[in-house]
Symmetry: D2
Subunit: 281 residues, 4 copies
């Protein structure tokens, strides 16, 4: 059969990224021993792209899925799934780059991650869901022998924000609302610094809010979260700044992109803030 993709192209237009997106796939995460060990299986939405030189007509889309299969479980969806750590993602991304014979490959996965988070007073058990992303770029350099990797981990946590202005000007009460706070970070874990796991980043994020949210709250807990939020009023600007201050103080983090979106309970639109900072610059 003719290999149409491998034929020559005369338009002289290189393509930055080409590949597959919205691939729904199971992944099994290796939880570090410091956070209880074991594994957690979840469902990821995955994108995989490569750069395509101007002279090649097309990429071979099926190979992306083949590499994914090989690194995640050989197309089983149960206990045969291979446990994966963030450190495996550059390996997977480089394998895509090599199999597709490309200068550059990109891999991103987004998935739900659960953390056992007891209620603040009664300690009632409950699972909180976070959205986590792994993003990686692998680039071939210097005559096919050198490569560089870039890995970004992201965590988005739901939380509560309570408006300082509303509290200050009102006789009683203060408008508050659910917000989504996100942090994508690059880390340097050389020199004996251990890796930053999802739980660590989720914890840093939640401290920046007026109050964290929980899956199960009994009445003593509800009293606690109500009063805790009222005692910690924060604009969307305060949340993002407190998060920046915390990430500035974390030595493993070298770069971050953070945002908070507050689903205002007094409007039908949202308040939003974001900061991107390269600590090495």
């Amino acid at each position: 059969m003719p290999d149409v993709q491998a034929s020559a192209d005369a338009r002289r237009v290189a393509i930055d990224r080409v590949g597959v997106k919205d691939v729904t796939y199971p992944i099994r995460l290796q939880v570090p021993k410091s956070h209880g060990g074991g594994t957690q299986t979840t469902v990821a939405t995955i994108a995989m792209y490569v750069s395509l030189p101007h002279y090649q007509k097309g990429t071979h889309m099926s190979r992306f899925l083949e590499v994914l299969n090989e690194h995640t479980g050989g197309s089983g969806a149960g206990s045969e799934l291979t446990p994966i750590s963030p450190k495996d993602i550059p390996t997977l991304t480089a394998a895509i780059r090599e199999r597709l014979d490309a200068e550059e490959a990109r891999f991103t996965a987004e998935f739900t991650y659960f953390i056992n988070k007891p209620a603040p007073v009664t300690q009632s058990a409950g699972l909180m869901d976070y959205r986590v992303s792994f993003e990686c770029v692998s680039v071939r350099e210097g005559g096919r022998t050198g490569t560089t990797d870039d890995f970004i981990m992201g965590v988005t946590a739901p939380a509560a924000s309570l408006c300082p202005c509303s509290k200050e000007i009102s006789q009683y009460g203060a408008h508050n609302q659910r917000c989504l706070i996100g942090a994508r970070v690059r880390c340097d874990t050389t020199g004996g610094k251990g890796p930053l796991w999802i739980e660590c980043l989720a914890e840093i994020i939640e401290k920046a809010a007026s109050c964290p949210v929980f899956a199960v709250l009994k009445r003593p807990d509800e009293k606690w979260v109500t009063e805790h939020a009222y005692e910690n009023p924060k604009f969307v600007e305060d949340i993002i700044r407190d998060l920046a201050v915390a990430l500035n103080a974390e030595p493993r983090i070298t770069w971050y992109a953070i945002s908070s979106e507050n689903f205002e309970s007094i409007h039908n639109h949202n308040a939003y803030a974001e900061i991107v900072r390269d600590k090495r610059a």
Copy 2:
């Protein structure tokens, strides 16, 4: 060219509904004089279905769009758009039924509708957006001469809810959040009762919340909405019941399906309640 759709089918399976969905189309609403008159142009998501008898292979999909064109503006998208009132929807639905030669036709349109809603204290101008739906069924009865129509209008309004339990048990503050309150209603406007317009239903819905939301709020307004919500604590159950009581008292409404979804600021899940009631039953 052969008309494949018109050929015979031997499977003996009648189809309840077949047609087109997710049609994006402009519509121009005639605003009644009682609400300021004029027109409002918006973008609707439309579905149109007919029933198909067991002996016919397929329906003619392009005819749905042709009927829609003829009733909304002849495929212009500017001032040539035909102003439409709720009373035109049964006419349009019957036209679909007739053009497709079907026993039954269904039409639904969902769109954003704007209401000029000044801030509660400063009267600052602002536009609030509501989601509105028109749903209609037209059925042929009794030897092709008789028909019956069924028309449902729906309005979904964003609002604020403040938790009575949180207020009661906490020393200060109370968790509150945005909620979406929806009402779909059937009306009887015979006997001199005028029609129920979108604004009327939106107003009834908003009164059932702890506080309405606004597009523009200056500080005196923010103080007002904060305190107003605190003075009107409501569970999702209270919102839905207060709305039911109000709709029970509105003589034009003969049937309703109502719901409230509260985006809890203390959880990452939502509280929800719904009631369906036929007042004539």
Copy 3:
């Protein structure tokens, strides 16, 4: 602390359904031995509701989550998750009804389920993702001793549809597109009939399409699916009818609600058909 929810209500409005929705939770499915055994862990979106009598002010929302925890894994998200079968869902739903002391409880869960589905010619390994739903209602009857359950399982499968009219009237080619075909079914598995598992329903659904879709297709596979679809042209009406005929022939199924939505490659809107049938009526 006062129990505000338990206080009396004077509005005389009973609530059909009240509870929590959009709860994101991990579930671990027990795969039957007939389909390979083992378990599959996935992420579900869950809703849990009860009916509320007119005289009670509110329901106790945290109890829904407590019952969910107890039946799914005690808030662990790894290997401590309890394997669940469809037969456990009525037990869970009845537990919600009892814990909330309600006449009626409803439980619905939607999740992604993966099936290992080799490519049609090369047998290349690949995982296909399906959306599955479990819906259950538990009703208390006759002096608190009798109960009835209603359980519905749903599977939505992506597939391909190829237009018979386009094929018939064109000199070459035929427009085709991805479609989503869904079936929700009630089963009677008494009298020695074994249960209908997800794979069985997915297989029935896919046979109704012009061609199934796959995760990995090499060139010989792509040739096969292209030609297979061309040899099986189907309108959305044909898909839904062929699916109805297949479900009529499956003795375990007593009721079904089926639909197909075709994302037409020649329009920016979708073709859609649906049938609901109670085989016992």
Copy 4:
């Protein structure tokens, strides 16, 4: 009342962007005479942000909405809406920057735009919907007197793609599917070059596909689009390259970011390609 937002902040963290997002608002577009003149009213999703210096606690969120009101219609939603052209967007963005007293302001609006597009053979009337975006950044420079603007217009058009490999290797047929092709462009319209309107960009985009899509197609039209797509097989790579070649040839365009997402009819995932190019670099 105290102005909490205006108070000092000691954290020494400047904020890149803070403001409001997901604002739903009506806008009325001035259609140029070259494209029929008149106006088209639609519903936009708007975001408005400013940069915030490290020493200021918060921005004044209500002012964003006030500026929007003043420039779009004074909070009327009917004929009182002010007709807007792309050239008004930098003015609006600069007004936000000035009212909020910021170094930088950003404005983005996304909306549906309709184009009357007759069927290719029968010329049957039909309206096609496109997603359009306006993005603008206004920066204060050099002692408050100089400013620079950056304006990007984007159009996303649905179309059809037909796979060259599938056509080449199969005895008959070829898989095809709906795709979404997007182009965001910066233009230089100095030196007598007229502006590039939405229709121009939509037309360029559609020519890059295997075939455009239409709202209404009768049988002679369906034959035409089927055969036209079959005669123009294109990978996602071909679509993006042909679009790049066309934008390279358009002298008004100085920069573009283009993408195509193909909803493969043989997979449950999508093929995707993108190119960003600065023609002045």
